[in-house]
Point group: C2
Chain length 155, copies 2
DNA sequence: ACATTTGCTTGCAGCATACAAGTAGATATA
DNA sequence: TATATCTACTTGTATGCTGCAAGCAAATGT
């Protein structure tokens, strides 16, 4: 029953399969690496998104994270209690509120980033600089290409 | 302790940060892409590991996945009920059992692989072949280098 | 004004996970 | 051999993340 491989010519591309395998492994690495962090993956994701995008509504945050609004709402509650984000009423819409990274949240994010960075830097330690650059370039293109594909065809 | 950034010059490497950002995004992509699949991420992970490594004990599987034994035990129960894996007693140790991919599990894995492959292939569609190869090579090295690092220093 | 839509929160249920306790079998030591 | 300890696995329990549905407040449309 392994002849499915031979059914589709593109499916047999070993490079694509290698990419799948690597993504698979990266998933595991992230799980491991993140476990030791003082910031759970969801919170990290949200803080990072806020840092990148600026203040966002709960709904927008949910859209970016691909999570339900209720989930994000609870996360925000926790993050607020922890002092990592602040809520300010949206001047344009009193139902809405802008979630904003606090200084404490920024610090926490930075330390979490540093942890991940240390892990990756260790992995990339022996790489020649131009290969790191190339790798970053390819990764970036990869993500944006997949983004284009999925947003264009899926929804 | 948050100016670790300035302490280590390599931490400021924008390429490394770009890699972090990309990994971050890939995490999200996986979460999205996998949601539509007929196989949940955990099961996919286990089936793929079994396909790659051959029959494994529950403990070994747990080690590979970095999960608690109990969690894997429950997963195996489900997968067995679904007919995707079989259990055979370990001839060397009657407490242990070898979890083995069944034909049905292999089929299921292949179809799940095909889904992911379709997603990635779509993303890589416009890439020149040699860049895909290069990308796969870098990803592979990246994973194995991080593996080396973590296994060497962490445990 | 009233109905509908939108942004958010909360109640609820499902699932993954870890830790702890229990069982069966293996290993070590006296 | 007998007993203690260790190991592989399962099951009980608790916790956390998640989505869906219901509810509330505010905005928008008619």
């Amino acid at each position: 029953m392994q002849r499915m491989d031979t059914l589709r010519e593109d499916a047999a591309d070993p490079a694509v399969d290698a990419v799948i395998g690597a993504i698979h492994s990266i998933g595991r690495l992230i799980r491991q690496g993140v476990t030791g962090s003082d910031l759970d993956p969801g919170s990290f994701w949200m803080l990072k998104t806020l840092a990148k995008q600026g203040p966002l509504r709960v709904t927008e945050l949910a859209g970016h994270a691909n999570l339900d609004t209720s989930t994000v709402s609870r996360h925000v509650t926790q993050l607020e209690r922890a002092g990592f984000v602040g809520r300010t009423p949206d001047p344009d819409d009193r139902r809405a509120q802008l979630v904003e990274l606090s200084d404490g949240g920024r610090d926490r994010l930075h330390s979490a980033m540093a942890q991940r960075r240390a892990l990756l830097t260790a992995g990339l330690r022996d790489w020649p600089a131009e290969e790191v650059t190339e790798f970053a370039r390819l990764l970036d293109r990869f993500v944006s290409d997949i983004d284009k594909t999925t947003s264009g065809e899926n929804e």
